[in-house]
Point group: C2
Chain length 213, copies 2
DNA sequence: ATGTACACGTGACCC
DNA sequence: TGGGTCACGTGTACA
């Protein structure tokens, strides 16, 4: 609702600041007269102080608006496939996005990744610290499939003091991709595991070679 | 900036609507007089139309504000651990949340779920359609570990016409947990796989029993 | 007293 | 043209 003070403030603001800045056909004298006559408020220090305060106020409000609108802009940028860029739509789409992402996360947390990683055609070995905090190392490698591969890997793992938390293997077209989650592996153990796995990947052990031929 | 029209609009608004609703000591007659005298604008149809339009306008603007603020409220509700509830903060936290969730999703998509599911102590079998659209079935089961389990599972899978897209096994304390992603399985094949796996879980095949004893 | 945050009505602008 | 969106300055309440 528009209060009386609000209306008066508009008049005061117009008279004291705006009228001097912008040329206007507004009958300035009339307003100042009526203003003074009806309320007997002289153009005093108090009035000027009030106007200064109003200026500060509007500037602060502008800063607030800019802060908020800046966030709207970043939202508009990070939102995918946004057509209508108006504020309400941005918020609605953002909410949709958050809910969607949360659903996705909870699904991925129980189901695991949807898309399947196939064995690489070239021999590859990769060790990465999975999540720094827990000392879990994830070893991924692709190599030629052969019957004794499993036990060769087991032997390689036995040579370093560490626990295999989880393992995953996939075989396709004579190639095998393996992922091992290893826990409690020092930096030296990590290097040892890496070189041992490299050997396992490329040359069959002597006993197994006999077995396959 | 405050324009002349704006100031006048405040006065008109005050005079025509507010003054009647709220009792006020404001010199109403004075304003209406000066208004009429200085611009010779009678309280005509045109003026009333203008006021009606202004009312519609402000009401529409209020609806717009409510729409936006409603979205703010839902954001405040779905945001976790929000302390400051002011608009700018809500937007900032929302942006943070979206980025965080996206990072989480991309990490889960490559690494898989962080927390490891251990083999259940009790024998369990569970088949779920992983993502309806692709006809992939995820078969999860925990059972006692034994040497021929692998080949028994392979035989069970061979009895239904379907491809194993991916497999995951974990053994801990004599128990094994297996997850199989099977593709191209009809509803009848699903039932068959389920019963076959149930058998595999509980009783070793004849050949393998000989091997283990 | 000082600042922060919000709702409001309004002028401007764009289909 | 109106219907919708925005920025603005202001009133007001709260700390």
């Amino acid at each position: 609702m528009v209060s009386f003070q609000q209306s008066m403030q508009h008049i005061r603001n117009y008279y004291y600041s705006e009228a001097q800045m912008i040329g206007s056909s507004f009958p300035r004298r009339f307003i100042s007269q009526t203003y003074k006559n009806s309320f007997s408020k002289p153009r005093s220090n108090a009035a000027e102080i009030k106007l200064l305060a109003a200026k500060k106020h509007s500037e602060a409000e502008k800063r607030r608006r800019m802060r908020i609108n800046g966030q709207y802009d970043t939202l508009r940028n990070i939102l995918p496939n946004i057509i209508k860029k108006d504020k309400a739509t941005v918020l609605v789409e953002t909410i949709k996005q958050v809910k969607e992402l949360r659903k996705k996360v909870s699904k991925l947390e129980v189901d695991g990744p949807k898309e399947v990683k196939f064995p690489s055609g070239a021999d590859r070995l990769n060790l990465v610290k999975c999540n720094g905090e827990e000392g879990i190392v994830k070893a991924t490698f692709s190599c030629e499939d052969r019957p004794e591969l499993m036990s060769a890997i087991a032997r390689a793992l036995g040579s370093v003091q560490a626990n295999v938390i989880k393992a995953e293997m996939m075989t396709l077209g004579g190639r095998t991709r393996s992922v091992l989650w290893v826990q409690g592996l020092g930096d030296e153990g990590l290097g040892k595991l890496k070189s041992t796995l490299k050997v396992v990947m490329h040359k069959p052990t002597f006993r197994m070679r006999h077995f396959t031929q």
